[in-house]
Symmetry: C2
Subunit: 198 residues, 2 copies
Amino acid sequence: MNIEPASLEALIGEFSSLPGIGHKTARRLAYHVLSKSESDVERFSTNLLNAKNKVHPCPRCYAFTDEDLCPVCKARQGAKSICVVEKSSDIIPFERSGIYKGTYFVLGGVISPLDGIGPEHLHLPDLVQRIKDENIEELILALGSSPEADSTALMLDRMLAGVSVKRTRLARGIPMGSDLEFVDEVTMLRAFEGRVSL
Amino acid sequence: MNIEPASLEALIGEFSSLPGIGHKTARRLAYHVLSKSESDVERFSTNLLNAKNKVHPCPRCYAFTDEDLCPVCKARQGAKSICVVEKSSDIIPFERSGIYKGTYFVLGGVISPLDGIGPEHLHLPDLVQRIKDENIEELILALGSSPEADSTALMLDRMLAGVSVKRTRLARGIPMGSDLEFVDEVTMLRAFEGRVSL
């Protein structure tokens, strides 16, 4: 006999639709929601709507913001470098480390023909326009290390033919605190190829 | 610089409050919500409220339901056995296996002095009353195998002093498909003690 109330099943379905949440975990979360106070669930429900309704891409860099310009674009007007990332949340580790003082640009993905994502789905033309308009001096690519990221970088390189801007990408190598024994082959290959003299 | 919009941070906080969801996972879920369509997020928000507002404990067995009686209590009026579980979702594996045709009773937890849960926080008196009122013939304890579950069973046993009802508990032993090599000591102990002749 199916003993789950329909409204509870619907909530389990919602949680299941989130990435990395299977049906059993979704059920656990839904039952947990029932144990919360009414006001807590109301606040959760409102915060869901709020986040969706108030948050939008920054018109200059496409990072998520709930203001007219994102805090970085607002604070660093006139910066001469742009760091290109795939998605908005990729900006967080940069800002947490505090090493970078320029602006960002969120591409909105990488070119992936298998997933039907072509250059026209990304904000590449906007990026090229911004580089020209603002006389950007350095473009830092921080796109991850998949083949798709590489072909996106290549496409950007072609679109920037004739534009004088220094292009760099993040170093690839052994991460801090990792045991050499457990480093995968590709990372080791890249760390070895990119070795620097002491 | 903190680049996360306040409304997004609030949503991350909501997901973090769920069991087993850490801050990083919560952020991933919240960003995923932003990528959903407006109508999908509205439905999610409504389903949260719906589940909380419509679902309530069945007045007879305390299982979650959105009707006046849960489907089991409605379909199996007059059944002469009660299976006692800790929480509503524990009923699901019984109903999935289809082996049991009686009714259930959700205690709402087990006695756990360390967590401040005493007998008064459980529905023990209601259970005793139901056993007497309905002339229940068999009481099946399905409370898990923690020391807290054992002391709850003991408490129930005392409260039923003088009541003639057969009391059983689920068998403990080696689960289906498990490799003997990986069976833990306590399970092995119980399986050995409970061995049956062929």
